[in-house]
Amino acid sequence: MKILVPVKRVIDYNIKVCIKKDGSDVDLNNTKMSINPFDEIAIEEAMRLKEAGIATEVIAMSCGTLASTDVLRTALALGADRSILVELEHNPEPLAVAKLIKVVCDKEQATLIICGKQAIDDDSNQTGQMVAALLGWSQATFASEVKIDGDSALVTREVDGGLETLKVLLPAVITTDLRLNEPRYATLPNIMKAKRKPLDTFSAADLGVDVSPRLTLLKVLEPTKRTAGVMLENVDALIGKLKTEAKVI
């Protein structure tokens, strides 16, 4: 079974984003970028399925500018066998990404797609569900445990009230939650090896996908900022403030 893992290049999770002065967008110039943390977990899960003899090949793909090559190299260093860049001028919307993933999946005849549950830049949380819809496949989102059982996958999902176990028919799309696994570190030899692994590039037109946007970003606003309040001496002072000033207890 082939596994396809879509990975996105996003702002590093340690960095706080700045908004451009004219409010037209966020400013990502000279910002540290990384593989989306959920996608690193997706690659790790795919690797574990390969190491368990369940998967035969792990293919990473990314849709974005040429700069996204670096996250594909990361995926390859973490063990993916080969990678595909769909080169675009702009960051695509989730629906467009889903269409591109579908076409690549059809070409590659993958049986399982493992996505992140959300990209930490746009926080959309849509792409995996959309791919499943376009392929007519089953979906298991927010996975914290995955077991392959013949022609099905047993997936434990993190849902609002607790946990849910889903049995989904393969082929399927799974999206990862944080506690699915602890991703490995890329070793230096593997980083070197990754440089020689295949990286194929296509355009959206090559794949016959219309990626024109449906949404327009009118402007980006600063959220109302909280400011530091007061530091209190002791518990009595805190209780006093909560009772008489904030009136919340």
Binding site: L221, L238, I249
Partner: protein, 310 residues
């Protein structure tokens, strides 16, 4: 123009987040229909009928909807979508799981977790863990929207008198099946609806201490318990307690951050709280930069003292 809201429920009780979602729908100034899909949902229909701003309750009652799996619910919503201008659901795990599937089946985009309705086609949503807000305009024929409950005050759950229409069920897709559920049932208020939240982080040190210290405080304040990701990962608290960018978004009147450093991913989930109290032994912890009241010191001394004096 008619707006469809998809109700979240457990086949018995209508979830309160649905009322917040209906408030967002109300800002579109159009007739509102509420879809109740499930199995043996008579008590949900009774509750839905009297919600203040619902004109019609649509009911799909069939066995294949009992667990609200995305595949089957999406088939149903797709079958009735074309008559609506907007389709909304709360941005809970139920809504997030299901709505993108419907949107994609109809070749439309989705706008996730809106916090404001600017006009029929323009909405505001947080991006980058809430460090920026994007104002977005959609050109799609149907606007698919998930709603951040904390940004909209719930509509009244009584006073309405909606008509009820039964829908015929769509075929079971047979793609997925729920085979187990571990849903935490406690006496505490639901995290996303609680007026007071007592949240603990890695500073608590262990599961035993997490409960030993925080439960008495939560009991005194009738509070819900919450946690940072670090506390959940370390097994101090269950996963559904996690507050943050990738956990639950909360906005209580009073939020206690105890032994939590204040990483941006945590702040993303609680920065709309009315009053924030931080207790941390590190006076430089970032949480103090946004807390209304800060206490520097050992939580193992402070929390028991607080409980004793409340």
């Amino acid at each position: 123009m008619t707006v469809l809201v998809i109700a979240e429920h457990d086949n018995k009780v209508l979830k309160s987040s649905t009322l917040n979602c209906l408030a967002a729908a109300g800002e579109l100034n159009a007739e509102i229909h509420l879809l109740v899909a499930g199995h043996q949902v008579s008590s949900v229909i009774e509750a839905a009928k009297i919600v203040s701003n619902v004109a019609k309750v649509l009911v799909a009652d069939a066995e294949q909807y009992v667990f609200h799996t995305a595949e089957n619910i999406a088939e149903l919503v797709t079958s009735i979508a074309s008559t609506y201008s907007h389709i909304l659901v709360s941005a809970t795990t139920f809504g997030k799981n299901m709505l993108p599937r419907v949107a994609a089946l109809l070749d439309m985009s989705q706008i996730s977790e809106i916090v404001s309705v600017e006009s029929e086609d323009t909405f505001i949503r947080p991006i980058y863990a809430g460090n920026a807000l994007a104002m977005i305009q959609s050109s799609d024929a149907i606007k698919f929207i998930t709603v951040r409950a904390t940004a909209f005050d719930a509509v009244l759950d009584s006073g309405g008198n909606a008509e009820v229409e039964m829908l015929s069920a769509t075929a079971d897709t047979l793609l997925s099946e729920v085979i187990g559920r571990e849903i935490s049932a406690g006496d505490r208020p639901e995290l996303t609806a609680a007026a007071v939240i007592v949240s603990g982080g890695r500073g608590l040190g262990s599961e035993k201490k997490y409960y030993q210290l925080l439960e008495p405080l939560a009991d005194k304040l009738s509070a819900a318990l919450g946690a940072s990701r670090a506390a959940v990962d370390a097994g101090f608290a269950p996963n559904d307690y996690q507050v943050g960018q990738t956990g639950k978004i909360v906005a209580p009147d009073l939020y206690f951050a105890i032994g939590i450093s204040g990483a941006i991913q945590h702040l993303a989930g609680m920065q709309s709280s009315k009053v924030i109290v931080a207790i941390n032994k590190d006076e430089d912890a970032p949480i103090f930069q946004m807390a209304d009241y800060g206490l520097v010191g050992d939580l193992f001394d402070i929390v028991p003292e607080l409980v004793a004096k409340l």
